[in-house]
């Protein structure tokens, strides 16, 4: 059973983990993947065992572009995790990937949680975090082959409303 240490936290991915093991195996190869239903063809942002739209249990991993838009965010001013105290305040973002936006229903999307990081893989400055900004995946390489997908600002033109709280 692979076990890793990341920022003082024990990360345990069991051999029989049919949901997340493949996700992190791909991350170790610097590929961002989601599950694709091999019956109806729809992608899903949460890598569960079944297709939420057609109930098929048949799936495959599918690499995505890693580009997306910040859908929501939080700035963690106070963390309860000791190993994150040197990061606070730090951003956590909910990223909506470019693939399958607004499908199959208008409010649906592939949404993934990550930190918004800067060029040094540290937390992005709070004033640069906003809903609507464009982002792209980067991979933080940890010890023993563990890699964590993160996102950074891509600098692309944002789409639609850009919103952030006043500082």
């Amino acid at each position: 059973m692979p076990s890793y240490d990341y920022r003082g936290q024990a990360i345990v991915i069991s051999e029989n983990d049919t949901e997340y093991k493949g996700y992190f195996e791909a991350a170790a190869e610097h590929r961002l993947v989601v599950k694709r239903c091999t019956d109806c063809g729809l992608l899903r942002g949460e890598p569960g065992p079944g297709c939420p739209w057609c109930t098929s249990l048949n799936w495959e991993w599918r690499e995505v572009s890693g580009k997306g838009t910040i859908y929501s965010y939080q700035i963690v001013a106070h963390t309860v995790i000791p190993a994150f105290r040197d990061w606070a305040p730090f951003p956590i973002v909910l990223v909506e990937l470019d693939e399958q936006r607004g499908q199959p229903d208008s409010y649906d999307g592939l949404r993934i949680t990550a930190n918004l990081v800067d060029g040094d893989m540290g937390p992005e400055k709070e004033e640069n975090v906003a809903i609507g900004k464009r982002v792209e995946v980067v991979f933080h390489d940890g010890d023993d082959g563990f890699a964590l997908p993160q996102f950074r600002l891509s600098g692309e033109q944002s789409e639609g409303e850009v919103w952030s709280h006043s500082l």
Partner: protein
């Protein structure tokens, strides 16, 4: 929808321990005390109670231990995994168990050292646990606590509807005013909007420290039986008109994959509960809207239809939710001020409101004689309260509701 059980079951006893930060005892000891207090409140002996229900998050003591401590021999018991919004759902399960002939009188309890042992905010035990399963997509990013799990919904709602931190602070102010008239409350100090927005940030942009509930050590108990059985008990029964729980948004734990993410479970639970109970919003005199954070209150008021979507900020700042207003909310002070109980105290408070015997600072509250002077250190009884509604919150995706009549 079936309404055959409307008024057929009632709550006949409520009880709790002290709300503290450092109980100095086990969840077993507290659970036994809370159940005993509720039995005494109802005028029931252990031989009269033949059902037990509890909920927990791996932080409590099971019924099978406490039944020994109190000499209860259940014909039915279940210890359910669950957090917020379990209270109302378990009231419904108790009714179902009685209706099915599994038991006659059911004690529902929740016992937690939520401050001194397994902190409900995640500090300590929970933050130190290895990361596996769905947490692999969250905790490596520093996302672990309840307010963090809800914050994507809160932030997005602020963007879509222009809610400000001042709007949210009004909820804490109202509940703190109520708590100042509750001798049991952990935080009795009245606060102002400025106090809230000047308290330190927990999560920007949606939660200052005073927007968050109080981690508390406590146990609580509610006893459910039939209206028939209630006739010769000590208290005026409080009748259950309808109950729903735990109703869920599409996606469950992964509801952020769908949308709109600023919509909460009340959108689905609301129409069902009013239909089932046979009352309208206008009939309700007092609400218990789950205040894990100020924002959970605002979102539920919107999606249960107390106002239009986006107008929650106007509802909570209008004075409606204050004692003396049209429909006071969380008159005990709720989770923000009385103490965090995973929802039990808000149902207990509404039972007492409907009895007319809220334990405020009025000298004759036990006799139901109140001054209705809501100044600090005074009364918190709602005048002539006939119908109450509880809205339990589990996550943005999970909710329960309970409507009761005196």
């Amino acid at each position: 929808m079936a309404d055959g059980l409307r008024g057929k079951y009632c709550i006949v006893g409520v009880g709790e321990t002290e709300y503290s930060r450092g109980s100095g005892r086990t969840t077993r000891a507290m659970g036994a005390e809370a159940i005993r207090n509720a039995m005494n409140d109802a005028g029931l002996t252990p031989a009269d109670v033949d059902g037990m229900l509890s909920y927990h998050g791996g932080d409590s003591t099971p019924s099978t231990a406490i039944m020994y401590d109190l000499g209860i021999r259940p014909n039915f018991y279940m210890d359910c995994s669950g957090g917020g919004s379990s209270t109302e759902a378990l009231v419904g399960l108790a009714m179902g168990a009685i209706e099915a002939g599994m038991a006659d009188t059911v004690a529902i309890f929740r016992s937690m050292n939520g401050y001194s042992q397994i902190r409900i905010g995640g500090t300590g035990v929970r933050a130190a646990a290895p990361i596996t399963g769905p947490d692999l997509m969250r905790r490596p990013y520093g996302l672990i606590s309840a307010v963090q799990n809800f914050a994507f919904t809160f932030t997005r709602h602020m963007m879509e509807y222009g809610v400000t931190n001042e709007d949210l602070a009004h909820i804490k102010v109202a509940h703190s005013n109520h708590a100042s008239n509750n001798p049991k409350a952990l935080m009795k100090q009245r606060v102002t909007v400025d106090d809230v927005i000047n308290s330190r940030w927990i999560i920007r942009p949606c939660a200052h420290l005073l927007d968050c509930c109080l981690e508390t050590d406590n146990a609580t108990c509610i006893i459910v039986t039939s209206a028939e059985r209630a006739k010769d008990l000590k208290q005026k029964p409080v009748y259950i008109l309808g109950v729903q729980g735990r109703g869920t948004k599409p996606g469950g734990d992964f509801h952020y994959q769908h949308g709109p993410i600023s919509r909460v479970a009340g959108h689905y639970v609301g129409p069902r509960i009013f239909d089932l109970a046979g009352v309208t919003h206008d009939d309700v005199d007092v609400t218990g809207c789950y205040d894990a954070f100020t924002y959970t209150v605002l979102l539920q008021f919107e999606d249960y239809g107390w106002c239009q979507k986006g107008e929650g900020k106007d509802y909570v700042t209008s004075g409606i939710i204050n004692l003396g207003g049209r429909r006071p909310n969380n008159t005990s002070g709720g989770h923000l001020c009385e103490g965090y109980t995973h929802g039990m105290n808000m149902v207990i408070e509404n039972v007492r409101q409907l009895r007319g015997t809220v334990d405020d600072y009025c000298p004759q509250w036990r006799d139901g004689i109140h001054t209705y002077d809501y100044a600090e250190g005074g009364c918190r009884q709602v005048r002539n309260a006939e119908v109450s509604m509880n809205m339990g919150w589990g996550t943005p995706a999970i909710g329960s509701a309970l409507i009761m009549r005196r």
